[in-house]
């Protein structure tokens, strides 16, 4: 049984004549302990699919199960709670809160879950330490490089120990070396039991880190490839 299983997912946006189908019966699978890439041209529905798998969006049709939980059966409040407890996010633009320093940014998921701020911050500093940002805990995002910001975002994604990590173009704003470091970190993460990660990317340099790659086109997953993958642009 896969960690993430989606079947027949459809999703359209807009109304009347402006209504556009983005997903047209997409099937998707990500296995526990694996780093699954989701690739395809812009507009093919990757972001919409991971939004549904990350419990942010409800499909029009189809079912999505994440670690055994049928997302379609959850109320809005339970979806929010599920997201907060089970899913970690890494975004292309980092999406750090500019007014908070690195430690507070990393601590946000814990604080949202009701952890005492001081304890949450202590855990965040430990996490940043593991990510090589020991001296940057008190820095604000504007005082950090892109690579440092992405590591803070990773700390935020992992601090509450989510089972599923969803990454949207995690290396797009990073240089090649930093991108490799980030991907290596993610691959190590999912090797721990009970975890999975889905990475949406256009960055073919990162393909060697994937355990499987799902290709999308026109709102469906057309096929899935297994290793070995070549680094197209070393």
């Amino acid at each position: 049984m896969g960690a993430v299983v989606a079947q027949g997912i459809t999703k359209a946006f807009g109304r009347g004549e402006a209504r556009t189908a983005v997903l047209r019966g997409a099937d998707f699978r990500a296995e526990e302990g694996e780093l699954t890439f989701l690739v395809g041209p812009s507009g093919c529905g990757k972001t919409t699919l991971i939004s549904i798998l990350a419990a942010m969006l409800r499909p029009d049709e189809g079912r999505a199960r994440v670690f055994g939980t049928d997302l379609s059966g959850l109320s809005g409040r339970r979806l929010t709670a599920f997201r907060g407890g089970t899913v970690g996010f890494i975004f292309q633009q980092f999406n750090l809160l500019p007014a908070l320093d690195a430690a507070d940014n990393a601590a946000v998921p814990l604080i949202v879950r009701g952890e005492r701020p001081a304890r949450a911050r202590r855990r965040a500093v430990e996490m940043l330490d593991r990510l090589g940002l020991a001296g940057s805990a008190a820095k604000r995002p504007a005082q950090m490089s892109g690579g440092q910001q992405q590591r803070v975002a990773i700390a935020r994604a992992l601090i509450h120990e989510p089972r599923l990590v969803v990454c949207d173009e995690p290396t797009a704003s990073l240089d090649a070396a930093t991108g490799r470091t980030v991907m290596g970190f993610l691959r190590d993460l999912v090797r721990e039991p009970g975890r999975a990660a889905i990475v949406v990317t256009h960055d073919e340099r990162t393909f060697p880190f994937a355990d499987r790659i799902a290709f999308m086109a026109d709102g469906v997953v057309t096929h899935t490839a297994l290793p070995p993958f070549e680094e197209k642009h070393p």
Binding site: A54, T80, A81, G84, G85, R113, E192
Partner: protein, 397 residues
């Protein structure tokens, strides 16, 4: 690295305080927008409290004579009299009739009129002339700053308020002894008082009733009968008894103050005029705070989406936005109130034309309520965007 995976949904937690801390950090982390928000609320608060204080001060002046009259329990007047500064004259026999009412310890005539004061240098001013009973001085202000009530027993003597003195003789020592003309008759400023100016004239002069009647040239020297109640007598009950026995209108000092202010409020455009200015203050506050807060929320929508994405519910997000709004309101209100208080402290000086103007706590409380409404409207107008926000927005570039 994380030690072990956690199963299923995250633990339910209803504690919102830590999240409010994140919201406040977001607020204080953007000092420029915070300044704009606070300035809008502070300006609105200042405008509303200052105009509210002005309004109360001005209205209070309409009844200042009543407040200055010491030892008076009941004011008796002609039934046609509406305010203290526009009395219909009484007959001399009315004083005797009031004295005959049980429970009256003392009843004395009181004269109030308006004269024109002329200095030797040719300066003129309207002056409220108050004549108290020659023997008892009932109704005389106790607030003398130079000279004493006994000085009023001298020929042609009046006691002028020191603010009027300072305006008539700017820069000169404030002391008794100057000669003036009141309605073309000689008068001596024998003493100086610290009374609050009334509504109708910028100067106030006290004197013996016989002296003031002569200065005003009035044939009817009784405007009111001032009553001191017997020991243990309830002033309100005594007022009712006087009305029943004499057919005159009788009010306690508090009742007459309220009646005078009520008449001014309902019969003049003052309330409307100040009400418009105060309402404009509120509207400006709503617009400035609303637009700035809306801008603040708009520019932070992505951050709110991130918080939603990591599991923050709509309810706690709404609380966070409201906490941000209330924090802004508290800071802005405090600054505006402090500015207004400083203003009234500065102007409420013995020699200031705005003497007696102050900031009543009731005005401060009302403005606090208005400020909460203003910022709540501003927050609510922005909140719906936050609540409808799609957390998947965070995946869009």
């Amino acid at each position: 690295m994380p030690r072990r995976p956690r199963a299923g949904q995250g633990r339910a937690c209803r504690r919102g305080a830590p999240v409010l801390g994140v919201g406040l950090k977001m607020l204080f982390g953007d000092p420029v927008k915070l300044l704009g928000l606070v300035a809008g609320i502070a300006f609105s608060t200042l405008l509303m409290t200052q105009q509210g204080g002005f309004f109360v001060g001005l209205i209070s002046r309409s009844a200042a004579v009543i407040g200055e009259a010491g030892g008076v329990d009941v004011w008796v007047m002609d039934p046609l009299t509406e305010t203290v500064e526009s009395p219909s004259p009484l007959r001399e026999t009315d004083v005797l009739r009031v004295r005959g009412v049980p429970g009256v310890a003392a009843a004395e005539p009181f004269l109030l009129g308006t004269g024109s004061l002329l200095t030797a240098k040719g300066e003129t001013t309207a002056v409220a002339m108050i004549g108290v009973d020659d023997g008892s001085f009932l109704g005389l202000t106790p607030r003398f700053v130079a000279g004493s009530p006994d000085d009023l027993r001298r020929p042609d003597a009046v006691a002028l308020d020191q603010l009027a003195f300072a305006n008539l003789w700017p820069g000169e020592p404030i002391e008794p002894g100057r000669l003036v003309e009141i309605n073309g008759r000689r008068a001596v400023i024998a003493a100086l008082t610290d009374v609050t100016p009334g509504f109708g004239a910028p100067a106030t002069a006290y004197g013996r009733r016989s002296e003031v009647a002569a200065l005003l040239g009035t044939p009817q020297p009784t405007s009111f009968v001032l009553v001191r109640a017997a020991a243990g007598e309830d002033p309100a009950a005594l007022a009712s008894r006087i009305e029943a026995r004499t057919g005159l209108r009788a009010l306690t000092a508090e009742g007459f103050t309220d009646a005078t202010i009520g008449f001014i409020l309902t019969s003049t455009g003052i309330a409307f005029s100040f009400g418009v200015v105060i309402a404009l203050g509120a509207v400006v506050g709503i617009l400035v705070a609303g637009l700035t807060f809306s801008l603040f929320v708009n520019e932070n929508l992505r951050q709110f989406a991130v918080l939603k994405a990591v599991g923050l519910s709509n309810g706690r997000l709404a609380l966070m936005v409201l906490a941000q709004a209330l924090t802004v309101a508290a800071i802005g209100y405090s600054i505006g109130l402090w500015l207004a208080s400083a203003f009234f402290d500065a102007v409420d000086q013995p020699l200031s034309d705005l003497k007696g103007f102050f900031l009543p706590w009731q005005v401060a409380a009302l403005v606090a309520g208005a400020t909460v409404v203003i910022i709540a409207l501003a927050a609510l107008s922005s909140l719906w965007r936050v609540l409808r926000l799609d957390p998947a927005t965070v995946f869009r570039g």
